[in-house]
Amino acid sequence: METIGNITWEIKEAIGVLSLGPPPGNLLADPVFVPSETLIQWTSDPSLKGIMVHGKGRHFSAGADLECLTRMAASEERTAERMNDGKKILSHLEALPVPVVAAIQGVCFGGGLEIALACKIRLCAENALFAFPEVNHRVLPGLGGTVRLQQTVSPAAALTMILGGDTINAEEALRVGLVDRIFPREKLFSAGIALLQKMTRNRQPEVIHAVMNALRHSSTMTEEEAMREETRMFCKLAKKESERRSSEQS
């Protein structure tokens, strides 16, 4: 187990678990909730097949620590710099070529929801609550959440949350498509691990990477580029499989 600040990381059976802290609220003292180089180092383990992000204790994360944020905001330049660094961390998490699952229980507000939105699959407990309360403090979600939320739910649902600052529960989150599945609280963590194991246990890392990269290309590339890249990746895998089969026969 590795720890930096309030965040811990551990790889068990090829699944990395990123735990947000400190409990109870797992407040984020800084948009850079984990140093970029640390996250890159942790997630570059070649044996890694999937990641689960969750909060220590009863909550996912209540978001930014407003006191720290207010102090930081005294300098506009410094704020912009930290926010941009924070965005890079979420972009890194989002672009990883392995499935990243958020297991969300309790509150998932502001910066916490930003982190959850950078994950590809969101599971939550029955007691989960979601909100972008930024508007109540006369700011807006600053780590790409306005963009990611609109890509995840309908524009109407996104606006209601961002502009209204409304809190929604697990059921409503499932209905609008913000989460993909709900579990009883006590089963959430094991359900997340089980899902990741089911998807990755018998898969070679290069197969997982190819699928996840192809998926990412569908939103970052034109159809023509994505098509060429997909064929390239397919041919590489097929060549390797073809060689494996002929070596098995000989």
């Binding site: 699959i121 197969v207 997982i208 699928v211 290309h217 990746m233 895998l237 089969r245």
Partner: protein, 241 residues
């Protein structure tokens, strides 16, 4: 290419046009496996079939009990080459798999509705083909899946992109990495098929659906339909009917 040249000697595909509806039938029963011959014939047929001015729509289906079990894997693996694929279309002759992919996209860019009518198994590349049709109608017993990763491969004909557009990223990742099959009901719930109908109504439902859409065209709803269609399916190569 003229009609005769396009249609001469088709064996893996059956093509016909009746009452202004084109019928493209995958024709290697029982499993309608998609081999190199199939893709070669598809490549030959589609430029002709998708630009005919007298058709209201096209129904894609499988001969016999199944839609198709997908790509002929052994043949594919035996012949695979990793020749360099250039970044610029038209630089040199496309890799054969890229040509197959282009055929599927041509179906998607067809300016008349293309409906997949699915019975039995619809797996791998065959499901990718169905996903690139504009609509999917299936029977209650239909079985779907992208099992490529269970053979250490990946879906390579646009299925990853289409599945995540239709069912969302989470479902796409889970179904593709796990590689499991799923039922018609599950496919409907995930937006991967548009309707489930009894076996004996499958074909007529697809045909009447196409006629209904073309009726809307004639009632001058065509601009709306085309706008919606182009937004969802990219730019059609030929939008002047």
């Amino acid at each position: 290419m003229n009609q005769e040249a396009s249609l001469t000697g088709l064996s893996s595909i059956r093509w016909s046009a009746t009452n202004h509806i084109g019928e493209l039938i995958l024709n290697r029963p029982p499993s309608n496996e998609m081999n190199a011959v199939f893709f070669e014939e598809l490549d030959r047929l589609l430029p002709y079939a998708t630009t005919r001015k007298d058709l209201l729509g096209i129904i894609v289906s499988g001969a016999g009990r199944h839609f198709s079990s997908g790509m002929a894997l052994d043949e594919l693996l035996k012949n695979i080459t990793v020749s360099e694929i250039s970044d610029h279309p038209g630089d040199k002759k496309d890799h054969v798999l890229l040509q197959n992919y282009r055929s599927f996209l041509r179906l998607k860019a067809t300016p008349i509705p293309v409906v997949a009518a699915i019975r039995g198994v619809c797996l791998g590349s065959a499901f990718e083909l169905a996903l690139l049709c504009h609509f999917r109608i299936c029977t209650p017993e239909a079985v779907f899946g992208l099992p490529e990763t269970t053979f250490n491969l990946m879906p390579g004909l646009g299925g990853i992109r289409r599945m995540s557009e239709l069912a969302g990223k989470a479902h796409a990742i889970e179904l593709i990495l796990h590689g499991n099959t799923f039922s018609a009901e599950e496919a409907l719930a995930m937006n991967l098929v548009d309707a489930i109908v009894p076996k004996n109504e499958l074909h007529e439902t697809a045909a009447s659906f196409i006629r209904k859409i073309s009726e809307n065209y004639r009632k001058e709803k065509r601009p709306l339909y085309l706008t919606r269609y182009l937004r969802h399916h990219g730019t059609a190569e030929d939008t002047t009917l």
